[in-house]
Symmetry: C2
Subunit: 348 residues, 2 copies
């Protein structure tokens, strides 16, 4: 049973602090991974603080994991000791429902098993995430990681990357499309990179004028200040797609009106209360709203391979784990460009 050092929350109201526990002994199909980097996702904060309810403590957050394989089970085929490996938001699912069969494990009928704050299917043991020195995961839920990219920039691809890549692919974003990205944070900055990489004309929609320079550096062709009525008026019926990453409360209809006929708003952020949708705003231009959740294993691998080929990584600030509580506070203020990543060497 590999003993593991970690940072954990003991309750919704306490800061993350040192913690240690035993990972399961690797089974026949498992890979054991020494974690090198783990990204810090906004959903870590929501779950640590039990803002979505049902949190399991102690909680070791982290689902943007890259590391190196240190042991493999006897039946493991995809990985060998020494390989780079990644783990995203889930580590298991039922494997038999229609969604799992189609490679859409994130929509598993029985529910995916979260990399942390979940329970293992057979043992019901709580799962612990990537703010830790190692992890043991079934090889079918483990991703292959290229050695061509800086690993700290790869870690956030496992959540922020696939969360934006998957819906942009699903709706078919390509050259000739006008794409708006609403909100420039962990998700938004990846959405800009992917949409631009797919050939679309990308506009960053943000309420912070200070983000214009960064948005353009990330690949946005235009910047639109959402607080400026003239700008917003000029963008009515303009976009084929808007990828909405905002999880603060906001008015969907303002942005629906920026979509042209047949345009689609992709929702990946979860505001704390439901947003009002006036039917007229949809009906009068055949507009749609679609939600999307991370991506399946197959598509996550496709995304990682695409990133390696196109040299796409997340823009990150690397921190030692000892600074994670401060990092949470900065994230809540939007003060991070654009993802904190924990250097797990700091845990050892």
């Amino acid at each position: 049973m590999p003993n593991t050092k970690a940072y954990a929350a003991q309750a919704a109201t306490t800061p993350l602090a040192p913690f240690s526990f035993d990972r399961r002994t690797p089974g026949d199909h498992d890979v054991q991974i020494e974690i090198l980097y783990c990204g810090v996702c906004h959903s870590d904060i929501h779950q640590v603080r039990d803002e979505w309810g049902g949190s399991i403590y102690p909680m070791v957050p982290g689902h943007e994991i890259v590391g190196r394989v240190t042991a493999v089970g006897s039946h493991v085929k995809k990985f060998a000791v020494g390989d780079l490996a990644g783990v995203g938001c889930f580590v298991d699912s039922c494997r038999t429902c229609a969604n799992c069969q189609e490679g859409l494990e994130q929509y598993c009928d029985e529910g995916m098993v979260g990399t942390y704050n979940g329970r293992e299917r057979v043992t019901n043991a709580p799962t612990y995430g990537g703010y830790s020195t190692q992890i043991v995961v079934d090889e079918n839920y483990t991703l292959k990681i290229s050695d061509k990219l800086p690993l700290e920039g790869v870690a956030p691809l496992l959540c922020a990357g696939i969360t934006t890549y998957s819906p942009l692919r699903y709706v078919g974003v390509r050259k000739g499309h006008k794409v708006g990205v609403l909100g420039l944070g962990g998700l938004g900055h990846m959405a800009v990179k992917f949409a631009a990489s797919f050939g679309a004309e990308v506009t960053m929609l943000s309420s912070s004028p200070s983000k214009e320079a960064d948005a353009k550096k990330l690949g946005a062709h235009h910047f639109a200040l959402t607080s400026d009525p003239a700008t917003m008026n000029g963008l009515q019926n303009h976009f084929d797609f808007i990828l909405n990453t905002v999880s603060a409360q906001h008015d969907y209809s303002t942005y629906l009106n920026l979509l042209k006929t047949n345009g689609t708003m992709i929702v990946v952020g979860v505001p704390p209360t439901p947003s009002a949708v006036p039917a007229f705003n949809l009906i009068f231009k055949r507009r749609s709203i679609i939600g999307s959740l991370i991506g399946g294993i197959k598509e996550t691998q496709e995304m990682l391979d695409y990133c390696a080929e196109h040299h796409i990584v997340s823009d990150v600030e690397v921190i030692p784990v000892q600074e994670v509580n401060e990092a949470y506070e900065r994230m809540i203020k939007g003060d991070v460009r654009y993802r904190f990543v924990i250097d797990i060497a700091s845990l050892k």
Copy 2:
């Protein structure tokens, strides 16, 4: 200038009453149509009573029009005197924007010209609808009507028919799909007929147990009572599509939860205030909501031809125009199976 008898509202608070006016003299591209039947759409009530604002009085409602051509302009090619003809929800549009060029005149960038309660593009004269003995319309905005079907049942196809046909075609409903139709009224009864005709397995979702027999007669394979929690629970993650025809206030999330992964709720009803949409309900199954507005001229003709081929008409109650105010009150109570159609002979 053809003098025309009609029923009109003089103000938002007065009942419809006899009225007469002059139609424009047919131009080179116009057809003059003696109206035989005109359907009564719920949007007639909204506009007569100025519930959407901006109503123009006197108002002659009616945009589900079938009749016979009595005169044609010198350049008219599609119609000859004696032909059957139909007019739907609009009689003109800019003809040059991308939407008009694609045959999506209903989404015209400059706004379609409503068959009534609109203004002609050049003259700015108010438009008057089908509760009248005749109408003059550009041939490009006039539909060809088959003589194979009872005309009173054809009239509602021009609005209720195309409003449901168009989105079911747009999302690609076909054999193998499970389709729910929410609300059994003028729109809902056509949605059931079309979805079943396209090969889908159709479930009527209604809060009125009394509608089960009718729903099945219309072609629904199943009936689900929306007020029964056990029934609703059994339909979680069940449908590929739900066509939502309800214009009363209701909770979208209840019905979103009935959609399987990648499922879509099509919204054609307009509740009086915006509906709340919890992002989680969309995100956790990649569900979407799409709005749709009637259909363009080309698709409306396609729908009429499809109906002639497949013997699809609306189920109607034919009334003399003198009973239209009473019909409005019955419609508000949902007491019509499933569309009132005015026999325009009663106006002559």
